[in-house]
């Protein structure tokens, strides 16, 4: 019975926790500029994330190791130094963007400049992590995040042509601005397959004390939950394509993105968009902050866990507090949340090979996953993803300059 409850909660919260600042920005921009043409990129990125999440959950449930901890043990600190630093830099920048996303959501409702909200939101994030356990971060925000289903409702009510949607799921060349199209396709991948998610998922599996016998729960949660979450991101793209593209509105600010809800929700449009953006970003901010603490603690062998008393894990608490302060400091210096998000998703693609390659080795090492090593499909996927990530890492910076 407990496994069933875990399963339902896991699937529901995966849906509610999928959409955040990166997916909203990239999908809204893709829809407003290329209609349904980039739906395939969202679908492909969702499948990639689901497979990576399933593998990291399997590694944690069987080997009782998070991804960061296993990489540290298997490859040593000299190898891990580079991906660790790269991931922490991305985590800090992405955390700034997520806090910025929450601040913009509050600005949409109050009219007060978003910069004023950065510090209070940072304090809320820290307090939630200080007083609550893993369940609140994972399930609480995930359940509240179900408000993002509004994107699916909006897309549904706008009545898109099914054959046009199906065409969008097949990769095609853009009929205009090919560089921008390629940049957005790569950005969607970067926004969806964030490195923090892989380690957070495995750490969460350990926090929840998942057993080897419950691997099926992990499989269903990652595939079903993340796939439905991907449908929410597709909802953003479809709504944007149906409302903003015909009016020639490009998404250069969240205020413009908000307009996609007006034809469907009328008076509720701004509130629904603000809550979707705010709760999605707050959930992601909590996860990123916690994950930064997890990664540092797991690499350096400190006590860690969101469910343990904070006095028993002072270094873990100090680590996530330090990352949060750093992100807030960057935010207070001044930044454009939307531009920072687009930079973050491009940088994520640059470091992706560093995250995926060790994973390929770990998932074939029976010391970590016992008899649950990856089969030909899993290995083929990881190898293809490593090659793809390597190629994309080479092209993403030129694409960012030319089409970003």
């Amino acid at each position: 019975m407990s496994a069933i409850v875990d399963l339902v909660l896991g699937v529901v919260t995966s849906i509610g926790g999928f959409v955040e600042v990166g997916s909203i920005s990239t999908s809204a921009q893709a829809g407003s500029e290329f209609g349904f043409q980039l739906l395939w990129a969202v679908a492909a990125a969702t499948v990639m994330l689901a497979m990576l999440a399933e593998m990291s959950g399997r590694l944690a449930a069987v080997g009782k190791q998070s991804v960061a901890g296993a990489v540290r043990e298997r490859f040593g600190i000299h190898f891990q130094a580079v991906p660790l630093v790269a991931e922490l830099i991305i985590d800090v920048l992405l955390l700034t963007a997520e806090i910025g996303g929450v601040a913009i959501a509050v600005k949409l409702l109050t009219g007060i400049a978003f910069q004023w909200w950065l510090l209070p939101i940072g304090v809320v994030v820290w307090l939630v992590l200080w007083v609550s356990g893993f369940a609140v971060v994972e399930y609480g925000l995930g359940l509240l995040g179900l408000v993002t289903l509004a994107f699916i409702v909006a897309a549904w009510k706008l009545g898109p042509d099914v054959s046009d949607l199906a065409k969008g799921l097949v990769p095609t060349m853009a009929d205009h601005d090919m560089t921008r199209y390629a940049f957005l396709a790569v950005s969607i991948l970067g926004a969806t397959v964030s490195p923090y998610l892989v380690n957070f998922y495995s750490s969460g599996t350990i926090e929840e004390k998942m057993k080897e016998q419950e691997l099926w729960v992990n499989r269903v949660t990652s595939y079903a939950g993340i796939s439905f979450g991907g449908v929410v991101a597709m909802g953003v793209l479809v709504t944007s394509a149906m409302v903003l593209e015909p009016r020639s509105i490009l998404v250069n600010s969240y205020e413009q993105a908000t307009l996609m809800f007006v034809p469907t929700f009328g008076r509720w449009a701004v509130a629904l968009f603000a809550f979707s953006l705010g709760i999605g970003c707050l959930g992601a901010a909590l996860e990123i902050t916690l994950n930064a603490g997890y990664v540092l603690a797991q690499v350096f062998g400190w006590e860690w866990g969101a469910n343990k008393p904070r006095r028993d894990e002072a270094r873990f608490t100090t680590a996530f507090t330090f990352i949060l302060v750093l992100a807030l400091a960057i935010g207070l210096i001044g930044f454009d949340p939307l531009k920072l998000t687009m930079i973050c998703v491009a940088l994520t693609v640059v470091i992706m090979p560093l995250i995926v390659l060790p994973f390929l080795v770990l998932m074939n090492d029976s010391r970590y996953v016992k008899g649950h090593t990856s089969g030909p499909i899993g290995n083929g996927f990881l190898a293809a993803l490593t090659i793809l990530a390597g190629l994309l890492a080479l092209v993403v910076v030129p694409l960012e300059i030319l089409g970003g």
Binding site: L108, S248, L250, N252, E255, T258
Partner: protein
């Protein structure tokens, strides 16, 4: 004579590349201004129909105004853009757009729907809505 012809051809190619790059830049600016004009129109209409609050409308118009000014600065940062008659015309339309948005922010502040409606009618650089 042959060298002269080659030099002439090269000069023509360089000129063509320069022109097409300028055309692309102008097209990009035009697209961005059209987007901002359309944004202003949709925000204004949503406010007039009571779908969005005055608070959101003011915030969104201020952000749009900021983006128009940013785009105008980019356009004006290249003198050759303003030397081109198309660039000069675009710059003037953008300035008008900027003024209309500024006035609309005032109209929303004073809840003057009639004035806002008039300004929306005089909004420059708004593309035709596609079906």
């Amino acid at each position: 004579m042959r060298r002269f012809a080659i030099a002439l051809e090269l000069a023509a190619i360089v000129l063509c590349i320069g022109c097409s790059r300028q055309d692309a830049r102008l097209e990009e600016h035009k697209k961005n201004f059209e987007s901002l004009g359309a944004t202003t129109k949709v925000i204004g209409e949503a406010w007039l129909s009571g779908d969005v609050s005055g608070t959101y409308t003011r915030t969104a118009l201020e952000q749009t105004f900021y983006l128009v000014e940013q785009e105008r600065t980019k356009l004006a940062s290249r003198p050759e853009m303003l030397q081109d008659p198309r660039g000069a015309a675009l710059s003037q339309e953008a300035e008008q757009l900027s003024r209309v948005i500024a006035s609309m922010i005032g109209d929303v502040g004073s809840a003057d729907g009639a004035a806002a409606r008039q300004r929306l009618a005089s909004l420059p650089i708004v593309p035709q809505e596609r079906p």
